[in-house]
């Protein structure tokens, strides 16, 4: 009997809950119940009885016309998303995750090269025969090439992902077959995700070792540890981005975790805005100090300090948002 009731409930789920509709539903239920009980009394099995009752129910659209309702009530405004759509999206995500990861790595490498060359110039090991501005430019060339390459990777990835923007807002309906398949895939991805994040975290924790190692070779060598630190952090960030993006893609499709409600998006936006202002500002300050004060060898301290401050900020902000 429960099967019949839930069958009716499903049929009426999308209809307006007016008195008339509800009365009609009650009548239909009573009638179906009568039929079910009569069939059971005739010795039919539970399944046979339910089967006949449901097969003899008819078409709900017939009643809708009678009630003056549209035959097909409110077609879902959500964009359908099939399993093959999801597969394509995941393939694109994997590809762009690598590109974005490399892009971020290149940006960090750019900063690392800037600091490294700045140090070498400062200590008179490079660009001796160049003028003051020539020495500055020497550090800038690889920096800009690397940043430009990184940024073009971001732009290219953004273009590739643009058709999937609507997934962010959850305005799509995943095919039921796709849901179970993706849940399975997400489950089997979980260990790789854990491992990837673990490697990333380990690299971050180990990265300051570079500073200590270089400081062993003397006070003025300590500065060389920073580019190495940045490269290690760059590798770690690649791991975070690659595995994080894939996990996020599954969450997006299945509307889980951060995509279960819409708060996360806002958090991301605020952190994104802060990041987009603060990091270029830091770079500008570094360049300014370098060119005007010749502080290539010391001004790099901005980056690790800002890194820590920014990390603390986003952690606190996310924490507050969650409460």
């Amino acid at each position: 009997m429960d099967t019949i009731i839930s069958y009716l409930n499903n049929l009426f789920a999308n209809l307006p809950k007016t008195e008339r509709v509800l009365a009609l539903k009650d009548q239909l239920q009573a009638s179906m119940e009568d039929k079910y009980l009569a069939l059971k009394a005739k010795g039919r099995s539970e399944n046979e009885a339910i089967g006949s009752v449901i097969s003899e129910f008819g078409n709900i659209d017939e009643l809708m016309t009678e009630l003056g309702l549209a035959p097909t009530p409110q077609p879902s405004p959500l964009k359908p998303f099939s399993l093959s759509d999801a597969r394509t999206f995941l393939a694109v995500t994997r590809q762009t995750a690598i590109l974005i990861g490399i892009g971020v790595f290149l940006c960090l490498l750019g900063v690392a090269s800037l600091i490294l060359i700045g140090q070498l110039v400062d200590q008179g090991q490079l660009g001796q025969n160049l003028g003051e501005s020539g020495r500055g430019a020497l550090a800038m060339i690889p920096f800009f090439i690397l940043i430009a390459t990184g940024v073009s990777l971001f732009v290219y990835s953004g273009m590739k992902l643009d058709p999937y923007k609507f997934l962010e807002t959850g305005e799509f309906e995943l095919a039921p077959a796709a849901t179970s398949e993706l849940e399975r895939q997400r489950e089997s991805f979980q260990p790789s995700f854990g491992l990837g994040i673990m490697i990333g975290v380990s690299l971050c924790i180990l990265s300051p070792l570079a500073l200590f190692l270089f400081s062993l070779f003397g006070e003025e060598r300590m500065g060389f540890g920073v580019p190495v630190l940045l490269v290690i952090v760059g590798v770690a960030v690649f791991f975070f981005i690659y595995f994080g993006t894939i996990k996020e893609a599954y969450n997006k499709l299945l509307k889980l975790e951060e995509y279960a409600n819409k708060n996360k998006k806002e958090t991301d936006k605020v952190i994104g805005i802060v990041a987009a202002t603060v990091w270029p500002l830091a770079t500008a300050t570094y360049l300014l100090l370098g060119f005007t004060q010749g502080m290539w060898g010391t001004a790099w301290i901005i980056f690790p300090i800002l890194g820590i401050v920014f990390g603390v900020f986003s952690a606190i902000y996310t924490g507050i948002k969650k409460v």
Binding site: Q27, A30, S31, E33, D34, K35, A38, G58, N59, E66
Partner: protein, 97 residues
């Protein structure tokens, strides 16, 4: 519609009972669907040919009962007559075959 009105001619009845009688009278030849039956009820009731009221008799469950009205009875006779006329009209064509 003749079939339902036939059922309604003299007795007060409820949904399942009516569908059961239709089935019986046609010797399982016509199994009316729930949605068809209830859209017919709605149409007839709107036209004032039947009236419904809720009550509980057997099995203790409240049910909606239907009873034919005078207008319904007139309409029924009219339809029966129409049907008879159509039959008479078509009969020669059927016999010719």
């Amino acid at each position: 519609m003749g079939v339902q009105s036939d059922v309604l001619r003299e007795i007060i009845s409820y949904g399942y009972e009516i569908s059961r009688q239709i089935r019986e009278k046609t010797s399982d030849g016509y199994v009316i669907r729930e949605t068809t039956l209830y859209s017919v009820f709605a149409r007839l009731e709107n036209a004032g040919y039947i009236e419904s009221y809720s009550g509980s008799v057997s099995m203790g469950r409240p049910r909606t009962y239907y009873r034919i009205t005078d207008a319904g009875r007139t309409y029924y006779r009219q339809k029966c007559q129409e049907w008879q006329e159509i039959q008479d009209l078509l009969q020669p064509f059927i016999e010719e075959e």
